[in-house]
């Protein structure tokens, strides 16, 4: 076991700009807090092992441990991770009046899950002023209020941690790959606590290439949009090279070359584009802005999608083979880039006691990923 405490977490993750602000360590205890997208330790905790470290998606994530737990097989390093099916999907007629971005698949699934009581609360990400903030909602009609990409880290998992204390037992979460990795680690009960209960019943993962450090983005947003109020954010697919910010004062385009330097190091060493540890993963569908790509990974995910289709919350159609191919290439390239970077920085499979790894995976898998991924 490579589980340590809060001091090591600060040294190994926060101080190295590896923290993506996912919120996994927040609200577990009084020591870690998140404010404006940044996680801070208020006081050092003296425990040698803590859930803060154990849950962190950037501290000693052993991919084999997770894969064995979820897929009953070692980690294979395939571009999209384990899945049952990949489809094109969009919100169905039941979602007609709701506001959402692109296909609305995520909103549709969470709405149904709340309505049917599959989950008793949903951890989503809202926006407060310019900052992404987490929200734990219990009413289906509040889902659409949180719709839309934020492109910046939110401590969404903090409301899961708080929800556990508040007694929620079947929470759903919509999160980025790092957040879903943290949830996966939570589910393994890494500290073997007697009082452990898996309080997360549904995980919907988002496709993510990177997110932006909120603190660094805020001055840029202020510069570009002034006092206007943000209503949405989007990043059109390549080769557009812009972020579009939709405000009450019109659309503002920010060149990606100004955004990319604001990405934290933690995103650059992330090998997961499609949220491989989710029940279902959702992203854009290239060339069809009203549809999503939907990856179904687990039985629970499969059942939810089926119910959603049957009851008019979701429409699906087969994913064109070309789209799947492009998705795999993009995901494989992210894996390759991230793992090379992590390896070169000494953040993989470390052996020295005082040097913590971001990730652990079998060397032969690492080699395969680095060798086989290529632009096709």
């Amino acid at each position: 076991m490579h589980i340590f405490g809060s001091r090591e977490l600060v040294e190994a993750v926060l101080k190295k700009d590896l923290c993506t602000g996912c919120g996994a360590c927040v609200e577990l205890c009084p020591y870690f807090k998140s404010y404006k997208g940044k996680t801070a330790m208020l006081f050092p905790c003296t425990l040698s092992q803590g859930r803060c470290f154990a849950f962190c998606p950037k501290a000693e994530v052993d991919l084999d441990v997770l894969a064995n737990r979820f897929w009953k097989a070692p980690y294979e390093g395939t571009p999209l991770g384990k899945y049952r099916n990949v489809l094109a999907a969009r919100a169905g007629e039941k979602m007609e009046n709701a506001a959402f971005q692109t296909g609305g698949t995520v909103s549709a699934l969470m709405t149904l899950a709340l309505k049917d009581g599959i989950i008793d609360a949903a951890a989503l990400t809202d926006r407060n002023d310019m900052v992404a903030v987490p929200r734990l909602i219990t009413r289906a009609e509040d889902v659409s209020g949180c719709a839309g990409s934020k492109f910046m880290a939110a401590p969404t998992l903090s409301v899961i941690n708080r929800g556990v204390i508040q007694g929620y037992a079947r929470m759903g979460v919509v999160g980025t790959p790092c957040q879903l990795t943290a949830i996966a680690q939570m589910k393994t009960n890494p500290l073997n606590r007697q009082d452990f209960k898996d309080a997360v019943a549904l995980t919907v993962g988002l496709f993510c290439t990177w997110a932006v450090d909120t603190r660094k983005l805020l001055p840029l947003l202020t510069e570009c949009i002034g006092d206007a109020c943000i209503q949405g954010m989007d990043m059109p697919p390549p080769p557009s090279e812009i972020m579009v910010v939709d405000t009450d004062d019109g659309k503002v385009e920010i060149p990606l070359e100004r955004i990319r330097p604001l990405v934290p190091e933690g995103c650059h060493v992330c090998p997961d584009m499609t949220s491989e540890w989710a029940d279902v993963s959702v992203g854009v569908l290239e060339g069809e802005p009203d549809w999503n790509t939907l990856i179904i990974r687990t039985e629970a995910g499969d059942q939810l999608v089926k119910d959603a289709c049957n009851r008019g919350y979701l429409k699906t159609k087969p994913l064109p083979a070309e789209n799947l191919k492009h998705l795999c290439i993009a995901a494989a390239n992210k894996k390759k880039r991230a793992l090379i970077r992590a390896r070169d920085q000494g953040l993989l499979n470390t052996t020295a006691k005082d040097r913590h790894s971001v990730l652990r995976l079998r060397p032969e898998i690492l080699e395969t990923i680095i060798d086989t991924a290529r632009e096709e």
Partner: protein, 644 residues
């Protein structure tokens, strides 16, 4: 009736040094007393305030030490006797006026009493007021015991009126705050009338305008006054010698150090070999008297605290007197025989004497040492300095610290002098990152807040107390507003000058003697400067933290007033707002999820860690029922029930 007035002439009473000084002032028939609170000096003004009505005195706690000296000077200019009291660094504050006052001279007797704090027992410095006497050319007296503390004050008033200038009488902690027997003299019964005369000839010291100009004439006059004082010092009863006619070694000492010297001579049985010259008039030293005693022997040891003030002055005289007294060998601070920091004590003098005279010290009996060691190892537990149970400062710094950590821009707090100075320690979560004189936190923050053009982007905060706000923060705050500095000043308003014993200040509707006076409103003062002002109860952690977050986003000068009366204040001491309990079943204890936040980090003395049961408990005797620990408990195990 105050015990200072009860006794008759000839009665012997046990008095604290500061009370002896106050009684001396009463026997000298003063009319006005002014000062600013500061340990170890505060009891003098307090003692005088208690008898203000009966003795027809005007007594005030002034806004700061400079104003106090100005108030006392006005009485002197109007022909009354007045005393001005402060701690050592107060003289620094008053010194600009003191420089000019020493130049203009005084009329009614004016005695300035600084109480120094060698060893910094209650200070953030070991400042020395003695040097101001030399630097500003005024006479300096140092009482050596409790009787002298009273008698010397009377004598100082006479001297002041003889030379028409201010006289400094310097006390130290171990004199001010220890007690000894004092024989009282009578209290005069006189009618006094205050008149300021200014229409006489320009240079008439009693009837003309009071000025330090023309400088060369007035300066010459001031130095002549000092010579007059020296002439009086030659005959002063406060300079005494005990010892053989031809000692092997002469100790020259002053203040409480002469008592340590006396004890050391006694312990070592050296009364036949060592003489002790106790100087009460330490600046300027009387040369004829010094010539007599320096002539007794060739070996001189100077025993005093902190900086070698007496030592240097004696050495200068010894050089001047060398043709008469010959070459001397000196022991003291310069050669390392006596330390230059911290307090003196008899042991240090014993060590010095053993070294100089090559005598053996039997030291303390072996059995004493052994028993002391036994007791020590059984020992009292190590204790850190801490805020009191229920102290509003603990709650205030909890919020400030946590907000700055979460804000995560390397924000910091500049501090100054008050109970809240402890926030440099874990009890205040090590939140203070600079600590200097009163008001300096605000001034330093004002400077930090202008470093933006040099890439500085850390939030700069300052804290001050309510009394300090008036004392020295106002100019700094005005500076910050005027120069568009970006700072947040947190006024820790606990409704009194708490650290020194709840003396009133301009923000309160009562004065030193208990009279009703108009209170100055901190909020309106700050608003009128153009600062944004917010007021919170520091016990409401959530509201305080949300308010502070918002202020940290604002450019310009923000003032957050955290208002909660000091837990030890007479008004509050009796009652509890909440009855606190711990639900043992809910307490997470040392497990992941809490790890003793309340007893390991928050550390209010009203909380106890029960190691056996792995739960926190409330110490009902110490707990003041502020309720704050219930707000920090992550599991809700600490519960507060409102006391009806």
């Amino acid at each position: 009736m105050s015990h200072l007035l009860e006794a008759k002439a000839g009665d012997r009473r046990l008095l604290m040094g500061n009370e002896a000084i106050a009684r001396g002032a009463l026997e000298a028939d003063i009319s006005v007393a002014a000062g600013y609170p500061g340990t170890p000096s505060s009891d003098i003004i307090e003692s005088l305030a208690r008898v203000a009505k009966e003795r027809h005195l005007y007594v005030e706690w002034s806004t700061n030490e400079k104003v106090a000296l100005e108030v006392a000077a006005a009485a002197s200019f109007a022909g009354l006797r007045s005393i001005c009291v402060m701690k050592q660094n107060g003289v620094n504050v008053a010194s600009d006026f003191l420089l000019h006052l020493a130049g203009s001279g005084t009329r009614g007797g004016l005695v300035l009493v600084p109480c120094d704090d060698p060893g910094a027992l209650s200070s953030a410095n070991e400042g020395e007021s003695r040097h101001f006497a030399r630097m500003l050319e005024i006479p300096l007296l140092e009482p050596g015991d409790f009787q002298e503390a009273k008698d010397m004050i009377k004598w100082a008033f006479e001297l002041s009126e003889e030379i028409l200038n201010v006289v400094m009488v310097r006390s130290v902690t171990r004199l001010s705050h220890a007690s000894g027997s004092v024989v009282f003299d009578s209290l005069p019964e006189t009618d006094k009338t205050a008149v300021f005369r200014f229409d006489g000839p320009y240079l008439d010291p009693m009837k003309g305008p009071v000025l330090s100009l023309p400088v060369t004439i007035m300066h010459t006059r001031q130095q002549e006054k000092l010579k007059q004082a020296v002439a009086k010092f030659e005959e002063s009863p406060f300079n005494t010698y005990i010892g053989p006619e031809t000692p092997e070694l002469l100790i020259i000492s002053s203040s409480v150090c002469h008592l340590y010297s006396k004890e050391a001579i006694h312990i070592l049985g050296l009364t036949d070999r060592v003489g002790l010259l106790k100087m009460g008039t330490t600046w300027p030293l009387p040369p004829k008297l010094m010539e007599n005693y320096l002539g007794l022997t060739d070996n001189i040891l100077i025993v005093e605290e902190v900086i070698p003030f007496l030592e240097e002055n004696v050495k200068i005289l010894a050089v001047e007197l060398a043709p008469q007294i010959g070459i001397k060998k000196f022991f003291g601070k310069k050669d390392g025989t006596i330390p230059t920091v911290g307090e003196m004590n008899p042991d240090l003098v014993v060590t010095a004497l053993c070294k100089i005279l090559a005598v053996e010290n039997d030291g303390v009996p072996e059995i004493y040492t052994r028993r002391a060691q036994e007791l020590f190892s059984a020992g009292a537990p190590q204790r850190e300095m801490t805020f009191c149970a229920g102290c509003p400062h603990r709650a205030s710094f909890w919020s400030i610290h946590n907000v700055l950590q979460m804000d995560n821009r390397q924000g910091f707090v500049c501090g100054d002098i008050g109970c809240y100075s402890l926030a440099m320690l874990p009890t205040g979560f090590s939140t203070l990152k600079t600590l200097h004189s009163m008001g300096s936190g605000a001034g330093i923050a004002s400077g930090f807040g202008k470093l933006g053009p040099f890439g500085f982007n850390q939030p700069a905060l300052a804290v001050c107390g309510d009394s300090t706000f008036f004392h020295a923060v106002l100019p700094a705050l005005i500076n910050a507003v005027h120069h568009r500095s970006d700072i947040t000043l947190v006024v820790l308003d606990n409704s009194g000058t708490a650290m020194t014993g709840f003396q009133p200040h301009p923000g309160l509707p009562v004065d030193a003697a208990g009279n009703s006076v108009p209170a100055i409103d901190v909020i309106r003062v700050c608003q009128s400067m153009g600062a944004i002002v917010r007021i919170c109860d520091p016990f409401d952690l959530e509201q305080t933290q949300q308010t502070l977050f918002k202020l940290l986003e604002r450019k310009g000068v923000n003032v957050l007033i955290l208002k909660q009366i000091c837990t030890l204040s007479p008004e509050k001491k009796a009652g509890k707002n909440f009855e606190m309990t711990v639900d043992e079943a809910t307490c997470i204890g040392e497990n992941c999820g809490c790890n003793q936040l309340c007893t390991r980090v928050f550390k209010c003395p009203g909380l106890i860690w029960d190691k056996q049961e792995n739960v926190s408990r409330i110490d009902e005797v110490i707990c003041t029922g502020c309720g704050v620990c219930a707000s920090i408990c992550p599991s809700g195990a600490i519960k507060n029930k409102e006391v009806a």
